[in-house]
């Protein structure tokens, strides 16, 4: 490893600060955009254009009373939001969000770690994320939470399968699990062009993994109040919020990395390209939230198991066949 530990620590610290800010402003931007879509104004009171709204929200949440319901499993109840936030933040470690840049004469790689099983690490983190949710749902001793948690775990593991299968074909074409290598493999042609079906399957599953509309069943507020985090208040609730938006950012960043050439792009610096592509995805998530109603649970399960999973397998066979035919 060419970088020394100090540089890594600084990078991690800076990245986390950036991520937290990005999450806060993703929420703000989402609220503003959705307001526009719904002929409203959205938050515009705190600071110019309401720009300080996220800060005010966080401050408010810090000074809210932290409640633990009677009958809750106290340790699990305390750790569940932390677990959700940790997996959400840590997943970003393997995403390359820019080329190597020169900063004060030091060469800085714009990723935390380019490990050779990067893709598997992402899977691992998103699989762990379900623990935060299901433990929160179970430990609250609240029926809505329980239903939300159970829904969520069933949903997330069901969509994990087609998601994994859809990405195998990318690995096949890139010949590596390292995200850095996958980005470099797209220097000439983005994988979205080569494998559009893989992308569609991946993205549908990713939305389901992040519990966003139209798959926002675990926290369907018109059915289950707030689902798994019904009982949570204060910053613990904010940690779930952080986890959810981190998941959105991570799956979007993954989509950019795997299918849209990562940070590569002409003229502009790499990290800017990355931000632009990422913003597009986040806008798309917002757009869907403002547009689509929610599926029912059995429909969701049917879509995952009976449509996406066989489709992903078929897609893999076809891609593998094509790669073999082209003498891969």
């Amino acid at each position: 490893m060419s970088e020394d530990i100090l540089l890594i620590v600084i990078k991690v610290a800076v990245l986390i600060v950036i991520l937290l800010t990005v999450v806060a402003y993703t929420v703000y931007v989402e609220r503003r955009i959705m307001a526009r879509m719904q002929s409203r104004i959205g938050p515009n009171r705190v600071g110019p254009f309401g720009l300080l709204q996220p800060l005010a929200d966080i401050l408010k949440l810090i000074f809210k009373e932290d409640l633990t319901p009677a009958g809750a499993d106290k340790v699990t109840y305390f750790l569940a939001p932390a677990l959700a936030a940790i997996t959400g933040l840590a997943a970003f470690a393997v995403i390359p969000f820019g080329n190597t840049i020169d900063l004060f004469g030091i060469k800085v790689n714009l990723f935390i770690a380019d490990i050779n099983v990067g893709l598997l690490y992402l899977f691992a983190m998103s699989s762990l994320a379900v623990y935060g949710i299901v433990l929160a749902g179970w430990s609250s001793n609240n029926k809505y939470s329980l239903l939300g948690g159970v829904r969520s775990s069933a949903q997330m593991i069901s969509y994990e399968l087609p998601l994994g299968l859809a990405l195998v074909s990318v690995v096949l074409a890139a010949g590596s699990l390292s995200l850095g290598d996958i980005v470099k493999a797209q220097a000439n042609l983005w994988f979205i062009v080569q494998q559009p079906l893989s992308f569609v399957i991946y993205f549908i599953c990713a939305i389901a993994e992040t519990n966003r509309a139209p798959f926002d069943l675990p926290e369907a507020e018109t059915e289950l109040i707030a689902g798994y985090h019904t009982e949570y208040s204060s910053l613990k609730w904010a940690l779930f919020f952080l986890a959810e938006y981190m998941a959105v950012i991570t799956v979007s960043a993954t989509a950019v990395t795997i299918f849209f050439g990562g940070w590569q792009g002409p003229f502009l610096p790499g990290w800017l390209w990355f931000v632009i592509k990422l913003s597009g995805f986040i806008f798309f998530f917002t757009w869907m939230r403002a547009t689509l109603p929610r599926l029912r649970f059995d429909q969701l399960m049917r879509l995952g198991w009976k449509v996406l999973l066989p489709l992903a397998a078929l897609n893999l066979v076809v891609i593998a066949g094509l790669v073999a035919a082209m003498g891969g």
Partner: protein, 592 residues
């Protein structure tokens, strides 16, 4: 997408029908059951000992065919109780037949008609709760609006509410020497409250397990595995119960095993307050029933009371204004209902806000006419409160001819073509034609199940016989049909509005006596209109005095909620929420 809803135009009711001729019906009954029925003041009086047999005859006899029990209520006379039934035939579009049954003052007891008309279930419970009449044979005779354990029956004439002041308004004692003293300020628990012995209201905590039974509590679940079911309360504080409505559900995973609607959280004894009020004082009070459709409520109440004022002829212009307001109200309500339904489906507020955007324009019109956007208080006995200002007609015309048809189409386009909406709404919450009639459902719920029944056509009130419009009906009776019927009804409303705005004459808008006290002749009247949520009936009984002797409201939300359990059973939690949304309830009139 073009609607799959059928549009039909059933012929208007002919005048002399068996169901209006109580004497003929009584004769038919007495052929079978000697001396079971007589006619008193134009109503069919049935002997309570033979009620169930007579009711079965009324329903099944092809010459009578009273298959639809619209309303069931009761009156507390000084010497007796009377249970009043309003019966209709939906296929021949006939009615009403007013049937009465007398009950003893000391131990009021009447056989239950639930076996004949299942829709009587909630209405009989309401009468039991509010008037204390026992319905023998009712499957689940429990309090409904008041809580179990409540003492007394609030609609009885001898019942006095907390802070009772006087029998009739205006209360003289509010102004003893010109200064206002409220009863609430005198003592916190006034002396007319009877508490059970040893009960201290300040130390009361409600019990954890409430005594609303779930019918299939002990039913074994399917499958070999003995997993447990979960009882969950949805409501009263729940985002999608449209107010303080509560569904107590038993869940097997996601699936509803049993569902029990629990109501009464917003109960304020509207009918008793209405009896304390003078006749006209109830007009603004009806606004608060279905607070989205105050114009319609005013209209219905005015029609009911005007039936007891034979010398009043409502001027043409006022009739037109009433119809215009009522039809705008329908559009307002349906927009709101559909927005709400889609919001329940998970479309995060966007359709709701689009719907509200259109609604605001019509509320502007209401504000111009009445000075208020929601609590309009517009109708009067013999006309309307005030004429519309000059800027009303241009805006109304613009909306009707331009904006609203486009808005309805756009709304329909956005929503009805969404695959997710179709997947969620189709074949969910099916109510068959037979069930819909038997459960006495009204309005879009009834019509979506394929019954072409609309009060505007069946029993044309005001000037509805002049307008050309169709009645949309559904074919399946699911959530999606209810959605389509509402969309189609909005289009029909626009049609009526176009005709009304074209034909409205100039002239007087009020023919009654100005002033808050009106002369109402002795008698009883049941006036009903087709409110957006369904037939809304006002049953008023006058003893010739300054206040109503009895003032009863047949609320569509209340009736339709009786069908909720039938529609929801076997579906999932998510379905239940949209089924409730498709019924379209407003708690203001559900709990009264």
């Amino acid at each position: 997408m073009s609607t799959e809803v059928k549009v039909v135009s059933p012929a208007p009711m002919t005048v002399a029908t068996p169901l209006k001729d109580a004497a003929a019906v009584a004769a038919r009954i007495n052929e079978k059951f000697a001396n079971a029925a007589s006619v008193v003041d134009g109503s069919l009086m049935v002997d309570s000992s033979q009620l169930v047999a007579v009711a079965t005859l009324l329903r099944d006899d092809p010459g009578i065919g009273a298959d639809f029990l619209e309303d069931l209520t009761s009156i507390d006379w000084p010497d007796r109780f009377e249970v009043v039934y309003h019966l209709y035939n939906l296929t021949r579009q006939e009615g009403p037949l007013r049937m009465k049954v007398r009950a003893d003052k000391a131990d009021p007891r009447v056989p239950s008609t639930v076996p004949v008309w299942p829709g009587a279930d909630l209405m009989e419970r309401e009468v039991y709760d509010m008037m204390g009449i026992t319905f023998a044979g009712h499957p689940n005779l429990k309090r409904i609006l008041m809580w179990e354990g409540f003492q007394g029956h609030p609609l009885r004439k001898d019942w006095k509410e907390a802070y009772f002041e006087e029998e009739k308004k205006p209360f003289d004692q509010r102004w003893p020497e010109g200064a206002l003293v409220r009863a609430e300020n005198r003592t916190p628990f006034k002396d007319n409250i009877v508490l059970p012995s040893g009960f201290d209201p300040t130390k009361y905590t409600p019990p954890a397990e409430d005594n609303v039974p779930l019918v299939e509590y002990n039913q074994p679940l399917s499958g070999e595995m003995k997993s447990q079911t979960l009882i969950v309360n949805m409501g009263p504080q729940h985002p999608s119960t449209h107010g303080v409505f509560r569904m107590r559900v038993r869940l097997d995973g996601e699936r509803i095993v049993d569902l029990q609607p629990v109501i009464g959280y917003m109960h304020r004894n509207h009918e008793k307050i209405g009896e304390r009020n003078a006749w006209l004082m109830n007009m603004p009070y009806t606004d608060r029933l279905d607070y989205l459709c105050s114009m319609g409520n005013n209209f219905g109440y005015a029609i009911a009371v005007e039936k007891l004022m034979p010398d009043i002829k409502v001027p043409e212009r006022a009739e037109y204004l009433r119809v215009i307001m009522a039809e705008f109200t329908r559009i307002v309500n349906h927009f709101f209902a559909l927005g709400q339904l889609l919001s329940d489906m998970g479309a995060f507020f966007t359709p709701m806000l689009y719907a509200i955007e259109e609604r605001e324009w019509m509320l502007d019109l209401f504000e111009m006419a009445s000075g208020s956007r929601m609590m309009c208080n517009y109708a009067r006995f013999g006309g309307v409160a005030r004429d519309v200002p000059p800027e009303f007609m241009p805006l109304a015309n613009k909306l009707v001819n331009d904006r609203l048809p486009r808005a309805i189409d756009r709304f329909d386009d956005y929503i009805a073509t969404s695959e997710i909406v179709l997947a969620r709404a189709q074949n969910v919450g099916i109510l068959t034609k037979e069930q819909a009639i038997a459960l006495s459902t009204v309005g879009p719920v009834l019509r979506a199940s394929g019954v072409p029944y609309d009060v505007r056509r069946a029993e044309p009130y005001s000037i509805y016989d002049r307008f050309d419009f169709d009645i949309p009906i559904g074919t399946v009776g699911d959530v999606y049909d209810r959605y389509l019927v509402r969309i189609a009804e909005m289009r029909e409303s626009v049609r009526i509005l176009k005709q009304a705005l074209r034909d409205i004459p100039a002239g007087e808008i009020f023919a009654g006596r100005k002033g808050w006290q009106v002369k109402i002749q002795k008698g009883e009247a049941y006036g009903r209109i087709e409110n957006p949520k369904g037939a809304t009936g006002f049953y008023v009984v006058s003893d010739g005095g300054t206040n109503p002797y009895r003032y009863h409201i047949h609320a569509p939300s209340f009736i339709n909620i009786g069908a909720l359990g039938t529609m929801a059973k076997g579906h999932t939690v998510a379905d239940t929420v949209i089924i409730l949304g498709s019924v379209d309830i407003v708690l203001g009139e559900l709990d009264r």
